[in-house]
């Protein structure tokens, strides 16, 4: 049994430290998701299929989460349907009260954590060293927060180190990058529609979550009490267990953030190539493997210790330079409009221009 001083910091405030940490990372995740949504919305016009693909991944995970909610509440699943535009899960038994609330919780929170959890599982095989739980000396708020941060920091550092030294000629590493990109494009619960909609905003998600939590304050109170009970128990056994639970959620958020960040260069590249003439659009994408393989071949004859890192840098720089050069010299005709002007009509029936 652990020995701890009985003061308000230890008994009450310290319990909030990991919750605060998870909330901060989750908010960060929301912001990065929001940026990704904006980027995808900009791409939607020219890359309908790509956006549909990302929608499909997002909707797929969202539907999986809802199905998981029905499974956990033992409602059963009578039908499961996922399409590019919507996902639909119907329970065998319609349960109300706390079960309904749990299902909704899965639906609202699941898409943020479940895909990230899957990536976390995969990444354990690649960066096993980064997974370290905190070991506390004092059971205070600051100590708990420091322990929480240390665990996440170790994990993040290892993850980034792995990414910097990634060997793209190793099929396992390439596979992991694809998994990251795949999940990174899908770790968002919202749909990217043709027009800018309110429901793809961060505020919309947050309002939904707030309404959901405040709808049944009693349930929320029960959860808080259960967590607090768990904290008190862990104080007697090992407070690191309590923090460790939230560290896992923190890792999930961090994984999601890294995965989302990795998709940014890809989205930016796609966006940048829109300014290039169609027949030249493919060149920046070809430059990626060609420059990397070329660099690796070059370093076979001129060996260096930083082989993977330098090759990666060469790949990034070549792609950026080639894209910039193509934008400058092979720019597409900007006057071409996707919407035919003759189709644009104003309400009074006269011809008009599109208003943006």
């Amino acid at each position: 049994m652990a020995d701890f001083p009985l003061n308000i910091d230890v008994v009450v405030i310290a319990a909030l430290a990991p919750i605060l940490g998870v909330t901060v990372f989750w908010f960060l995740q929301l912001i990065f998701i929001e940026i990704q949504k904006r980027l995808l919305s900009r791409l939607r016009h020219h890359h309908e299929a790509f956006c549909r693909f990302t929608n499909y991944i997002g909707i797929f995970f969202q539907t999986i989460c809802q199905a998981l909610g029905y499974t956990v509440t033992r409602s059963g699943i009578s039908s499961f349907q996922v399409t590019v535009n919507y996902g639909k899960v119907e329970p065998k038994k319609e349960k109300e009260g706390v079960f309904e609330w749990i299902v909704r919780s899965f639906l609202l929170f699941g898409p943020f954590f479940i895909p990230a959890g899957l990536v976390l599982l995969v990444s354990y095989g690649v960066i096993g060293r980064g997974f370290s739980f905190p070991s506390l000396v004092h059971y205070t708020f600051v100590e708990s927060l420091t322990g929480f941060w240390a665990s996440l920091s170790t994990y993040g550092t290892e993850f980034v180190r792995f990414l910097i030294n990634i060997d793209l000629l190793n099929p396992l590493h390439v596979g992991f990058v694809f998994v990251l990109l795949f999940f990174g494009l899908g770790i968002r619960p919202s749909y990217i529609g043709q027009e800018r909609k309110e429901k793809i905003d961060i505020l919309h998600d947050l309002i939904h979550i707030k309404d959901h939590l405040l709808e049944k304050p009693l349930y929320l109170l029960v959860i808080v009490l259960l967590l607090y009970l768990f904290y008190i128990l862990s104080l007697f056994l090992n407070p690191a267990v309590y923090i460790g639970l939230f560290v896992i959620f923190g890792w999930m958020s961090l994984t999601a953030i890294i995965a989302i960040l990795l998709t940014y260069p890809l989205l930016l590249l796609i966006w940048a190539t829109d300014a290039i003439q169609p027949q030249w659009k493919i060149v920046p994408f070809i430059t990626i493997p060609v420059s990397y393989i070329g660099s690796r071949v070059f370093f076979i004859y001129y060996p260096t210790n930083e082989l993977e890192r330098v090759s990666l840098l060469v790949m990034f720089l070549s792609t950026i330079l080639v894209t910039i050069a193509l934008i400058k010299y092979k720019r597409t005709n900007r006057f071409k409009t996707a919407t035919k002007m003759k189709h644009v009509r104003v309400a009074d029936g006269k011809k008009g221009t599109s208003k943006k």
Partner: protein, 373 residues
């Protein structure tokens, strides 16, 4: 499409071919070969497990071949198409043959890498060639399906012969906007069956006593299924094409009212034919005496009966003899037919009804007149 192939009054609505990604199942087979080839090369040459394969030069080939065939078996069972297994078997055997022929036993990992890429490229080219051999022509009268690399196949289906339309869109189809439409004909062309079978065996015992158990089960499901050259496979844009086909089918399917009208016309034609025969009989049975032409006004025929050969407008009636019993029978039969004609009508217009009644009355008067004479 060659204009000669079109029928009279036929117009081409749309010429389609499958979307480049619509044959993804076949392309996936090629992708697997290329990926597995690269993995084996990396595994046996560069990975930390490379030492495991240094004992025997044939180990990489065995690993490569075993996994290839295993995946072939699984894919064949899932897709219910054993061609996949034999395709992979062919690739594997060709690799062995090439190694022995060219004496590449010492460079097997590199050979597997290059061979996999080469085979995959050839595979992709064949799939692309196969895709391009497909052509679907949607005209205002029918759908023409064409396909096949060596053996050219063609199917034509008229819209009025389409009993059902099956449409499906996979995940890739939803993303890229293509899908497959199977028009099922009234004869059932376009329907197939999926048959799955599971079996397992177990052997228990040593050298002397052995038990062997075998359990199996099968399930057959009737489902819309057709070869890619007998369906609108992976057509783009799916929704537009589906709408077009459905509209065309709808425009060629007779409505309930039209069907009733056609049935009614058939009955009318039958009645008219019988009446004509009776009139012929009446005329041919007359006695060879001095005849007086007596005009007999027949009932007016409905408009739809114009196509039927018109009966003689005048009858030859013997002036003084009166009707024989046969003639009476014929008249009676004609009367019955007229009644039948009247009752067979489906919502006849009022004017026609009046005319018919008048015609009937006239016939009756004629009969009376003839009887009196």
């Amino acid at each position: 499409m060659v204009k000669k192939e079109l029928l009279k009054n036929e117009q081409v609505e749309r010429i389609l071919s499958p979307h480049p990604l619509s044959f993804m199942k076949l392309q996936t087979l090629c992708i697997f070969v290329i990926v597995w080839g690269i993995v084996v090369w990396w595994l046996t040459e560069f990975s930390e497990y490379a030492g495991m394969f240094s004992g025997n030069t044939w180990y990489p080939l065995i690993l490569w071949g075993l996994v290839l065939l295993l995946v072939g078996v699984i894919a064949s069972l899932v897709a219910i198409q054993w061609t996949i297994f034999f395709l992979y078997l062919g690739v594997f055997l060709s690799a062995i043959g090439l190694i022995f022929w060219q004496h590449w036993q010492n460079d097997i990992p590199l050979f597997i890498f290059i061979y996999s890429i080469a085979v995959s490229i050839v595979g992709f080219l064949i799939v692309e060639l196969y895709r391009r051999s497909h052509k679907y022509v949607i005209t205002n009268l029918r759908i023409i399906f064409k396909g096949g690399i060596f053996t050219k196949r063609e199917r034509t289906i008229r819209y009025d012969k389409i009993a059902d339309i099956d449409a499906k869109q996979g995940v890739l189809g939803q993303i890229f906007g293509f899908g497959t439409i199977i028009p099922v004909s009234q004869s059932g062309f376009g329907l197939g069956s999926d048959k799955t079978m599971a079996a397992g065996g177990v052997a228990v015992g040593g050298t002397k006593a052995r038990l062997f158990g075998f359990a199996g089960g099968g399930k057959e499901v009737q489902t819309p299924i057709a070869r890619s050259y007998y369906e609108l496979h992976g057509v783009y844009p799916y929704k537009d094409v589906k709408q077009l086909v459905e509209d065309l089918v709808q425009s060629h399917v007779p409505t309930q009212y039209q069907q009733e009208q056609v049935e009614f016309q058939k009955q009318q034609v039958d009645i008219q034919t019988q009446m004509r025969d009776l009139l012929h009989k009446q005329v041919s049975d007359k006695p060879r005496k001095k005849m007086v032409r007596q005009p007999v006004e027949e009932e007016e025929e409905p408009e739809e009966e114009e196509a039927v050969e018109r009966v003689p407008r005048k009858k030859m009636v013997p002036p003084e003899e009166g009707f024989q019993s046969e003639q009476v029978d014929i008249q009676q039969q004609m009367k019955d037919l007229l009644k039948k004609q009247k009752t067979a009508r489906v919502n006849p217009p009022e004017e026609e009804e009046v005319e018919e009644e008048e015609a009937e009355e006239e016939t009756e008067e004629n009969e009376k007149g003839k009887e009196g004479s």
